[in-house]
Symmetry: none
Subunit: 208 residues, 4 copies
């Protein structure tokens, strides 16, 4: 009857894959990667374990797809906001603000992303966080902003890679450390971080 049979089929399958991935996010958030068995994921997704095997080649296939999805979503969130800024300074502030805001927007997604990145392994048993990832668009974008600011003369001279790494570390630390999360609220943390980064990047008269 339908004139779009393939699309309909594809749509159902895609909906199930989405449903399963959401179950996986909930599982990773609640009990962590090491405990996230297929049956735990299936329980939270409201499907049978066999259905996961039906829609994904194997467990690592599921985790890979989920990782991509989460990285993409996070990257999109940040990039969309950065794209609306014009000067390098605005972009940099927006980048930091958005990076932190994303964590607050959907903590479970962020936690799930952390759990996969820190726990999943390549077939060679190399941890993801030890793999150099050329596709880390976020890190690349941040370096791009810093270089642009230096090129236009907005920013002072500093080591781009190290500052980028420092910013990423500071942003990630907020969710990785329960202590700071409880002592400082997200907004304040963002403002203070932006101020500190500004101190480092600001152009002062008579300084190279």
């Amino acid at each position: 009857m339908s004139n779009h049979p393939e699309e309909k089929t594809s749509f159902i399958a895609e909906a199930r894959r989405e449903q399963i991935m959401n179950g996986a996010i909930a599982t990773l958030d609640e009990i962590g990667y090491a405990q996230s068995s297929l049956s735990q994921i299936a329980k939270r997704a409201g499907v049978s374990t066999a259905l996961i095997s039906y829609h994904f080649v194997d467990k690592s296939d599921l985790m890979n797809h989920l990782l991509m999805k989460l990285m993409e979503r996070s990257a999109t969130y940040i990039m969309d906001r950065v794209a609306q800024a014009t000067t390098a300074r605005q972009k940099l502030d927006t980048f930091i603000e958005a990076s932190l805001a994303y964590q607050g927007t959907n903590p479970a997604h962020y936690i799930a992303l952390l759990e996969i990145v820190f726990h999943a392994r390549t077939p060679d048993n190399i941890s993801y966080y030890r793999v150099e990832d050329d596709e880390d668009v976020i890190q690349h974008e941040l370096q791009q902003i810093l270089r642009e600011g230096q090129a236009t003369g907005e920013f002072s001279s500093f080591h781009v890679e190290v500052l980028a790494s420092m910013i990423q570390g500071a942003v990630g630390e907020y969710m990785s450390s329960a202590a700071i999360t409880r002592q400082v609220d997200l907004e304040t943390y963002g403002q203070e971080l932006i101020r500190m980064v500004r101190t480092i990047t600001i152009r002062t008269e008579g300084i190279s």
Copy 2:
């Protein structure tokens, strides 16, 4: 037979526990937390799995003891060096330098520590990195240094908790991100980081 049965026992037992923990460190470093079964640990420690169960009440007990040991060792390494510095500025620089140096000193220990912190869970299924840890002496020491510098007037006015968190994040990021590890060597990273923190903490004329 021995006239010091408890002590001798305790000594041998302690040696075995040490041996098992070293096996666990090697295992965590090589194959990661999720794959680190008791039998994998036993293999690397050169003992039977049953012996691990004999010396530790259960697997999480082993991981807890190992985590404490690794945190203590790391803390000692850093604190010992910081203790030799006199001014807050010297202490702060030394803290950053030592924190990074420790990662290079014994990468396997550092990786093992990361693996436990990011993967192990309390009985309530709360991830360690989400537990507020009053015993995080390192974080406490860093804040102490920053406050001391502000009190003596060496440092400018800044948000102590945020800067401490930023420094911790930047230090941790070096080992967590393969990209930066390959682009910048440890020494350069340390020097640049110190320079940036100095920019933030330095007292400028006419600024509150």
Copy 3:
């Protein structure tokens, strides 16, 4: 719509059943009975697994139909050739020759037949090769030839069932044993076998 719905249905259905059975033959030949899952068979038949369940009540039903088909094909091949011979001697020689030739004609069919006979089971868990099969027309035909030869005086006196069994065993052995297949070619094997059987069945003067 059609005025011969059953027949048309029957025809298409029969074609599909044939297609599935050919897939089953290929599967049995390539990966053996134990590995021949419905999905493996479906893959080789170019249909979905569900279609197999639609055309056969269950897996054993498929195997039963296939077994019959293969036995029938094998019997026809042999019987057609034997029917053209006139004397018992000619029939016997032709029987042996044709039995061996069939193996060479379509090895995959013969392998598939062996795989089913030796691996499939009745619902009572009785192996096919332990089931007394009244419908084993080939065995029956062979015994018929031997008895006919004895009746006409062409053949000497011997134990019909044992010789029949011996011939069947010798014929089957050729494909079941890789050693003999590689040492002796099919034609030579057949010639020698015929010569030996002739020695046993030949009528000698003065011997009962």
Copy 4:
């Protein structure tokens, strides 16, 4: 206490392995190879499935060990009896007799052997019965006897490999075909088989 600690340990383990293999024999005999899951074997062996995995690397390791054991036992049974005969004729008769007798001695063992040989596969998915087996000592011994008889002049001229194959086929057929088993008893079958083989191998005056 014991002065043979290793041997005692080894003895217990060996006893368990034996027990498990006997369970496997019973399972193969009762429900066939394709249905012989570890849990079915464990049930019949009176142990847990995990214990099978503890004593054997994996399922194929168990089957390989069992196959070797069964082949060895069968070979020993036959060879021991053949060794007591002196002339080639006596050896040949004894070989046939013993080969058949072994089937009657312990039918379950013989069935189990058949089930493995016809169902198990190498890692390359090649069926055992299609693998040329240099270690088939029984087949080798039979050919040896035939050649010896020809060398001493006891036997006539015939194709050794084909007759050996024929004998093996005839012997194997007795258990593989329910029809003959029910029609002719083992002893008669043996006697008739020996008589037929004698006709083929006997030396006649004036015949090459």
